[in-house]
Symmetry: C2
Subunit: 365 residues, 2 copies
């Protein structure tokens, strides 16, 4: 599988179908477009899925996990082993994303894109169990390497690894979509990963590192200053080319961020909507958009993160976040929560009667 | 049942329980309060339900329906018979609120608080059917009168009818809560009812009618000017006393708005959260708040309506709307959609493991 082939196969959403959907909305038994953005959502899903009978019943959250060499520079409030520990918690079903995925009826698949810990035993045990149960909370190992290299002193990964990470995300998501999943959400886990996400955001959007940098999982002033400096140093040392997304990913990125870009490309290729989570996921979305602008037609911005630079990324993609609850967890939590809103838009489109069907009087002339 | 007895029995939410809930949140396996407002929601439900094991599994939307004498002044884009036609559509399950209530797993109860059409046959037929099925989309007749009187020339109803409407709403909701419902949403239907809601909003919040008045279901400039003048004329003709909510309700209100106030008082009395829908429901919430300030502890503002005056009402109640999708339908649609968010807050509180349970390393010292 070549990345160029994937990208060539992606088509824009169907504008003609969206217009037909808009015409249907105008007949629903309510004042004209009285449910505002819910109508736009339903119509976008029609354009994405090429149908006037859109469906998002079958849902999956894909959590891409990876570790980061830059974590050793003291840019995070948590030790690096937490990445592997949280992956175990996802598989066990005890994290925030598990609660929200259960609520919306989404399966959870965790992908080890390159964490330091070895979880192959857990993955094997889980495969055995998956044969017996519904396969909720699955773990898949696609380890590109045991964490990226410290990008303050050189590239985070090779260009080959960058492409490999995008293709791994693509293949995982393609497999899920081929099994009939109709709506994807992206998620991430990786101690230190707000640093590569900030670097990608700064390079791709052109905003200064200081404006893009936030507090991540909650760092103090000293750590914050160190984080800013480390990111600036990394960009200066690597000189990533903004117009070449694989170059940006290889120099200042992360394996899970490449994986997220691949998941989004799969949604676009298979014509299924993808709900983007917060800061880290949106860094992946920036790369997917840079590789293939049509892929952005398939994205919904799940929520506005409190992470400072998120707003600039969202603006760059010309998306509008659906929710704003001052969340900053990652894992896919904002995207999973926003799946309810996507489903609401689809249900309004599909389930509400027309004026004619309901026999209700229309507006006075 | 006397209204004063109901009000005397309402206690504030349990602040001590909310503090204990806050302590539990700080142990969840995620950065400190990383899910922002979702934590506040879960903790508020703990304080409302007096438990560290909150539950909102069982949900109901109560749609209060009524007609309005002022509709004959040409303040709405729709003819008055639409109120009854829409009630039929609710019972049939084909309206916007039905789609959203089905999605969140809420039952729908429609209450004829005073519509012009006679739907007693439908209610009887529905009672027979309800014996055979799950009882979704029930219709109950509590008709105070066949529509209010035109409040531009005198009071909309008597003071006795005002009290009767609040108590009817209270009793309906109390019955639902006694059957085990744990989370309520308010809804409304009534052609012309943005006019009484605007009048109530202007009188209670002290904002000018011109600032409070919006376009309702979508009126043109001429209708808008007529609507503003009619509301101003009604307030001038009746001189409602802002500090006496039953006086305000009787002079410029509506039966369904009184009913909504009663539903909210029942939630407060039975210590269950109530999600308030948009403009009309929030007018009912203003009355409930004026009758019993502690009742506001039990309210969640479901969404921000595009109806102009809604923001002023919400500010008066010191609530923050959960969602903003430029909706302006009523029926309870914004409240039903927001039930997902309340449930998410509760699930995060209940289902996420603590750091200790998950065996995950805490922040570096």
């Amino acid at each position: 599988m070549e990345l160029n082939r994937v990208i060539d196969d992606i088509e824009p959403a169907d504008q003609e179908m969206m217009l037909r959907a808009r015409e249907h909305t105008s007949q629903l038994v309510m004042p004209h477009r009285a449910l505002g953005e819910l109508h736009l959502i339903g119509e976008r899903v029609c354009g994405i899925q090429r149908t006037l009978e859109p469906s998002v019943k079958s849902k999956a959250v894909l959590i891409m996990a990876g570790d980061h060499g830059i974590a050793l520079q003291g840019v995070s409030a948590y030790p690096q082993e937490v990445t592997g520990e949280m992956v175990k918690t996802f598989v066990r079903g005890g994290a925030g994303i598990n609660a929200l995925a259960r609520q919306v009826g989404a399966s959870v698949m965790v992908v080890d894109m390159g964490i330091v810990s070895d979880l192959s035993d857990l993955a094997s045990a889980e495969r055995v169990r998956a044969g017996q149960t519904s396969g909720e909370n699955r773990l898949v190992i696609k380890k590109i390497a045991k964490g990226t290299k410290d990008f303050t002193i050189g590239p985070a990964m090779t260009r080959e690894q960058a492409e490999e990470s995008v293709l791994a995300g693509y293949e995982i998501a393609a497999g899920v979509l081929e099994q009939g999943v109709e709506l994807l959400a992206t998620g991430d886990m990786g101690i230190g990963n707000t640093s590569p996400a900030t670097a990608i955001g700064a390079v791709v959007t052109g905003h200064a590192v200081k404006r893009m940098t936030g507090r991540g999982t909650g760092v103090d002033d000293e750590t914050f200053a160190r984080k800013c400096q480390a990111i600036q140093k990394g960009i200066a040392a690597n000189v990533p080319h903004a117009e070449d997304p694989l170059d940006v990913l290889s120099k200042v990125g992360g394996f899970e961020i490449g994986g997220i870009a691949g998941v989004i490309l799969a949604g676009a290729r298979f014509q299924r909507p993808v709900v983007i989570d917060g800061f880290i996921s949106t860094a992946g979305a920036l790369l997917a958009d840079a590789m293939c602008p049509s892929a952005t037609d398939y994205m919904f911005a799940g929520h506005r993160s409190t992470e400072q630079g998120h707003q600039f990324m969202i603006e760059h993609l010309r998306l509008k976040p659906l929710l704003d609850f001052e969340m900053r967890l990652g894992e896919g939590t904002g995207a999973a929560l926003a799946m309810h809103i996507i489903e609401a838009g689809v249900r309004i489109f599909r389930e509400v009667l027309t004026f004619e069907q309901a026999g209700v009087s229309k507006e006075k002339a």
